[in-house]
Structures are given as structure tokens and as C-alpha cells.
């Protein structure tokens, strides 16, 4: 019995120590962010989903307090901010489900959006680039996927800044 415990500990201990010794990831810094309109590319996604993701992102990033100022795309007053970063999102895949199907069958009818979120510095170099998936699995209308997605992106942005 004791031999088994020792064997398990000998496997786990180095992993735990390695995890503890990893230095915490340095946070990025910027006073302002500009949120770009969601790019659809070749993916056929209805316009209301793109605009809803954009609006919810503006709302959530503002509420997170990670930046002193949150600008929308096209806002001329953002041009003068020296440490402005830009959040760019591009849709990679979209599957429109059905609210009725979801609520009746539970395992079917999910709405899913895959996107790539990129944060660019003022000089154009990439600070962060990650794939994120938003879903509506059980209750709520299909547009609810935009809220899930915005929540996940904001969490990521907040963890980085």
C-alpha cells in the first residue's frame, strides 16, 4: 500500500513543483481599446448576429473596467490615443440551431459560433490571438449565442490586461 502511495507521489510531485515554478504571465497594458466590427469573411452569418456580437462586446468590455476608454469602430477620437489597442474578431464557423428543438430535445438544436479574436497594438503587431466558441445549448433564442461569445471574449481580454 505504502509503495503505491510513494509511486503516485513520485509521479505527481514533479508535476506540481513544475506548475508552481512557472512564472505568472505578464499582463499587457493599454489605456484604451477600439472594438472592430465582426468580420464575417466567407461564412454566411446573418447580419443581426454580427452586430449583436459587436454591441455586446462594447457593452461587456466597458463594464469590465479593464480599460479607461472603450471606442467603437470608426470613432475619430480614438486616433489620438497613443497606446490604443484594437480588438478584431473574425467568424470562422456558424451553425444556426433552433430554440424549439433545443427546448424539446435538449441534445439537439444548439446554435454555435466559432471566432478568432485578435488584439493588435497601435503599430499593428499582434498581442493576442485566440479561437473562441460561443454556444446556446438549452434555453433562449439563437441570438443568445452572441451574449455567450461576448462574455468569453471579455473574460479573455480582462485576463490579458
Amino acid at each position: 500500500m505504502n509503495t503505491r502511495i510513494l509511486a503516485v507521489l513520485s509521479i505527481l510531485l514533479p508535476a506540481v513543483l513544475a506548475a508552481q515554478s512557472t512564472p505568472p504571465k505578464a499582463k499587457l497594458s493599454a489605456s484604451a481599446i477600439r472594438i472592430d466590427m465582426v468580420e464575417a469573411g466567407d461564412v454566411p452569418i446573418p447580419a443581426e448576429f454580427r452586430y449583436a456580437i459587436y454591441e455586446r462586446l462594447v457593452e461587456r468590455v466597458r463594464a469590465s473596467g479593464a480599460f479607461q476608454k472603450v471606442y467603437r469602430m470608426g470613432d475619430h477620437s480614438a486616433d489620438a490615443v497613443p497606446d490604443l489597442v484594437t480588438l478584431h474578431t473574425k467568424v470562422e464557423a456558424f451553425k444556426q440551431g433552433s430554440q424549439t428543438e433545443r427546448e424539446l430535445v435538449t441534445v439537439a438544436g444548439a446554435t454555435k459560433v466559432d471566432i478568432t479574436a485578435t488584439i493588435l497594438a497601435h503599430d499593428g503587431h499582434t498581442l493576442m490571438d485566440q479561437k473562441i466558441t460561443g454556444r446556446v445549448r438549452f434555453f433562449g433564442e439563437n441570438l443568445g449565442v452572441t451574449n455567450d461569445l461576448a462574455k468569453r471574449i471579455t473574460k479573455l481580454v480582462q485576463a490579458s490586461f
Binding site: 449583436a52 467603437r72 470608426g74
Partner: protein, 159 residues
């Protein structure tokens, strides 16, 4: 004869109720999904175009978009649940109903709506998107009204 007149009157009343558009072109029972400044999400009210302004008005708040600031208008559709917040509470409570009988409510309470997305810019040039849920069949006339008032919109008839 009297019965015939009564049936006609009843039909006329039903037709009046079905015609969602008010006499001044305003559309009642419109819900703001998101994106209209000064109006909270899921507020229900009336949407109208007058004097070069797209105006949403509810009992508690109102929001306006100047028609010349509109860059594009999109129409979509969504199946949603009727009954508003009360409907949501009833449906949540029905989960506890035996033999999953509460799921019948899902079928009974579903309703189709038109989704009208109005892309516009503010005086600083910042892009906004106001999304409205309108009674079925009302988005196209509203889009036509906005285009007639001078709003920009991509021609959807082109392939």
C-alpha cells in the same frame, strides 16, 4: 341578415387586430434586442419613422436614430417565445411539471418575429447597430419607409 352583419363585423375587427401597423405608420409591439442608445435591452414599444428620424418609444424610454446616419438595413427572422418576461417565468416553472409535460408550452408559446438590424454612425463616426424584433411581416415595410426617408441600404435584390 343580422347574423351576417355580426360575422362581417367580427371579421373586420379581426382584420384590424391583425394589421399591426398604426394609422401613422408606427409599428407597435416592437422589442429592442440590443444597440439602441438610452434604451434598455428587451424594452417593448413602438417604432416609427417621422421627420427624418427613426424613433422607438416605450412607456419608460425613447431612442432616436437620424435617418441620414443610417448606413445599412438588414432583415432577418427568429423564432422566439411569446409572453415576454411573464412567459419566461411560466416556462421556467413548467420544467417541474410531471412527465415533461411542461415542454408542450414550448410549442404553444413559440412565435416568429422579424429582426430588423439598423447599422448607423454617431457624430464621431462610431459604428452602432440597433437590433429590433418586430411582429412577423413588419420589417420589410419599415425598411421601405426608411429608404424612402433617405436611409442608405444595400440593394438585397441583386444576386
Amino acid at each position: 341578415m343580422k347574423l351576417g352583419a355580426m360575422i362581417l363585423a367580427a371579421l373586420a375587427a379581426a382584420a384590424g387586430a391583425c394589421a399591426q401597423t398604426e394609422s401613422d405608420g408606427a409599428i407597435p409591439k416592437v422589442r429592442v434586442v440590443i444597440g439602441l442608445q438610452d434604451v434598455k435591452r428587451d424594452t417593448s414599444g413602438t417604432l416609427a419613422v417621422h421627420n427624418g428620424i427613426l424613433e422607438f418609444r416605450s412607456a419608460k424610454a425613447s431612442g432616436q436614430v437620424p435617418v441620414p446616419a443610417i448606413d445599412d438595413i438588414f432583415i432577418g427572422a427568429e423564432t422566439t417565445q411569446s409572453g415576454g418576461k411573464t412567459g419566461r417565468v411560466v416556462k421556467t416553472a413548467a420544467i417541474a411539471a410531471p412527465f415533461e409535460s411542461g415542454k408542450a408550452l414550448t410549442i404553444l408559446m413559440r412565435t416568429k418575429v422579424d429582426i430588423l438590424t439598423v447599422a448607423y454612425h454617431d457624430p464621431d463616426g462610431a459604428v452602432h447597430g440597433a437590433i429590433f424584433a418586430l411582429p412577423k411581416g413588419q420589417a420589410e415595410p419599415m425598411r421601405a419607409q426608411l429608404i424612402q426617408a433617405g436611409a442608405h441600404a444595400t440593394d438585397t435584390s441583386k444576386p
